[in-house]
């Protein structure tokens, strides 16, 4: 997907449509939204504008950390809605940067799975709205591995034929999560001694790594440069789309359940339009269209049930039921330990 696909339309928006929404004549408004690059259909902004008259200025971020850095520095100013993973949404709420959601403006919420409304980081969805959810696991070329991987140690201490052919995510929560699960700890581990063990394991894993890769790991699998990669389920699907020998598995030690959410900024001057946007996404057709584009599961029951059966056949992890996902531990904000997390990651990356 190209950023240029979202033409900036700063002063667009039909005044009549704005009036119809009851937002006053002065509000020829533009919503500023930040999402991961390629994480929504390329013409989403145009479709939304055609339907509501509200134009969208899309900014992209590469990682949660990047957008968190920007938003915490500015108190959220400059953005109306941002897409972040659940622990970061939780942090935005604690910092008072996230706005409380007005459910009366979000009738499409009823499309969500009941489970998706009672997520432990935000029960009742008071400040965040789930957009996509899934697991983190191993994505591999079934034709290039001698046996099916089933443990995080297959990634962290690969067999000889896989050494130098594995990649890991370098985003702190998931990098640490992999080693924590391998050690039998929680994905939200905060104890100092346990984190030291996690760090030692990650440093020793570095030796057999081809690279750290958060964005192009699936293409490394397709080209055959890598045989086994640490991946989010949806992104493994991008590889499966190009090579049917690519498979996704959740290691026996378990995984984390992450939820990517939409959060409205408390500082936003366009809160109504921001709600309008979220409600639009939650529409059964829109959210289904999202799945077809980004190949991630969405917590929208109406959309998932309407999904073409051939999609689930091609991408088996799209068929995972909410109940099965909820058996895994939810990724939560670790509070002050977040400092230790980012420091640990820096130290692992810096180790020789």
């Amino acid at each position: 997907m190209k950023k240029t696909a979202f033409a900036k339309k700063l002063l667009a928006g039909a005044p009549a449509a704005v009036l119809a929404l009851g937002l006053g004549p002065a509000a020829a408004q533009t919503l500023v939204i930040s999402n991961w690059d390629g994480y929504m259909p390329a013409d989403m902004a145009e479709q939304f504008e055609a339907e509501t008259g509200i134009s969208i200025d899309v900014a992209n971020h590469a990682t949660n950390e990047e957008i968190m850095g920007k938003v915490t520095a500015s108190g959220g100013k400059g953005y109306d809605v941002i897409f972040v993973s659940s622990p970061f949404a939780e942090a935005l709420d604690k910092l008072g940067i996230a706005a409380k959601l007005d459910h009366s403006m979000l009738p499409n919420m009823e499309n969500l799975y009941p489970e998706a409304r009672e997520l432990s980081y935000d029960e009742g969805l008071t400040f965040s709205m789930p957009y996509a959810w899934g697991t983190t696991g191993l994505c591999y070329r079934s034709d290039l591995v001698s046996e099916e991987p089933d443990s995080w140690m297959d990634l962290l201490d690969p067999s000889d034929d896989l050494a130098g052919k594995v990649t890991m995510l370098s985003t702190d929560r998931w990098m640490i999560g992999a080693a924590a699960l391998a050690k039998g700890y929680s994905v939200n581990v905060t104890e100092e001694e346990k984190l030291t063990e996690v760090k030692d394991l990650l440093v020793s894993a570095k030796e057999d790594l081809l690279a750290y890769d958060d964005t192009t790991f699936y293409s490394k699998l397709v080209s055959g440069e890598a045989s086994l990669v640490h991946a989010w389920d949806g992104w493994c699907n991008y590889g499966i789309a190009e090579n049917a020998d690519i498979k996704y598995t959740i290691p026996s030690e378990g995984t984390d359940l992450w939820v990517d959410t939409m959060v409205v900024m408390e500082s936003s001057e366009n809160k109504e339009a921001a709600h309008e946007f979220i409600n639009y996404i939650l529409g059964a057709d829109t959210h289904k269209w999202v799945v077809e584009n980004i190949l991630y599961k969405v917590p929208n029951k109406a959309s998932m049930e309407a999904l073409d059966a051939s999609m689930v056949e091609t991408y088996p992890n799209l068929g995972m039921e909410p109940a099965a996902m909820l058996e895994y531990e939810m990724l939560r904000d670790v509070g002050n330990a977040q400092k230790d997390y980012s420091r640990l990651k820096t130290e692992v990356m810096s180790a020789q």
């Binding site: 590469a62 990682t63 950390e65 990047e66 968190m68 850095g69 938003v71 915490t72 520095a73 942090a91 910092l95 130098g164 052919k165 990649t167 370098s170 985003t171 702190d172 570095k206 790594l209 081809l210 690279a211 750290y212 890769d213 080209s223 055959g224 440069e225 509070g335 002050n336 977040q338 400092k339 980012s342 420091r343 990651k345 820096t346 130290e347 990356m349 810096s350 180790a351 020789q352």
Partner: protein, 282 residues
């Protein structure tokens, strides 16, 4: 009075530019480096030396040294490639020199990122070089050519060699050919003429090219990121990570200040070298 006003009008815009976009940001970096980070980012205004303390931790000191080693190696190789090339161009017939210089600059018509990415296509396990080696039976299995220090050095050399050629070329072409002739007339063998006469006189060009490569290499983060695969960290990546990933602006600022310090020392040394050599020719 009028004179003063005119000077002010001429200097004003440049001065304002430097003040707002150079002095103020540098001061911010300086100030931030003495404060603490917030848990999720931002600055907590509690004075501390912790960031500098941490920057001199052996872990990060090793990264600074490794960056210097990679940058130094890139500089050395770039000089070895660029000097003979520049010498050959400067000695070519005058009407052909612009063509050669044009060819040297040609790679800059494509984007830095694309030029760097092209190396991934060549060096990876399934890349052009490994394919060729395997097809000719020169190696039994694909060589790990990518994501190591050598690939990072390769990328840096490739990108900066043209600048060094230009810097050395300008030095050599300004050389009065009669000086070399005089040396040979007085009986010096050509290698001695080169070592004792030409090389010292072209030192300013060498120094300018070398400092250029070194300074750009030691702070580079794109090349180590793409060609080092995140496994080879240079100080540029470390700083980048502190601002964008770890959200530790104060630590990133402290590291930046240290890097700025190293660069200033080098630029100063280069200025001294140029001055010395200018005195020597008098």
């Amino acid at each position: 009075m009028y004179q003063r006003l005119r000077t002010f009008l001429f200097v004003g815009p440049g001065l304002a530019w430097l003040t707002f976009f150079m002095v103020v940001p540098c001061l911010l970096v300086f100030l931030y480096s003495f404060f603490e980070r917030g848990v999720y980012g931002g600055i907590v205004y509690d004075f501390t030396f912790e960031n500098f303390d941490r920057a001199f931790d052996p872990l990060y000191l090793a990264i600074l040294l490794k960056s210097a080693k990679i940058a130094g190696l890139a500089t050395l190789i770039a000089l070895l490639i660029a000097y003979p090339a520049a010498y050959a161009i400067a000695r070519a017939p005058a009407q052909r020199q612009p063509v050669y210089l044009f060819l040297v600059m040609l790679p800059f018509w494509s984007n830095y990122l694309i030029r760097t990415y092209a190396w991934i296509v060549m060096l990876n396990r399934e890349g052009l070089i490994n394919r060729a080696l395997l097809d000719f039976g020169l190696v039994g299995e694909a060589l790990p050519l990518l994501y190591n220090e050598a690939s990072v050095v390769t990328g840096l050399v490739y990108n900066y060699v043209p600048f060094v050629i230009l810097a050395i070329y300008s030095s050599i072409s300004r050389l009065n050919p009669e000086i070399a002739e005089a040396s040979e007339d007085l009986g010096a063998p050509s290698y001695k003429t080169f070592l004792r006469v030409i090389l010292p006189l072209t030192l300013p060009g060498i120094a300018a090219g070398a400092v250029f490569v070194f300074v750009l290499s030691i702070g580079n983060f794109i090349t180590p990121d793409l060609l080092g695969g995140g496994r080879v960290q240079m100080v540029g990546n470390l700083i980048y990570d502190q601002f964008l990933e770890a959200r530790d602006w104060p630590f990133g600022s402290a590291l930046s200040l240290i890097l700025i310090g190293v660069m200033m020392c080098l630029l100063f040394a280069q200025a001294v070298a140029v001055n010395r050599s200018a005195e020597g020719t008098r």
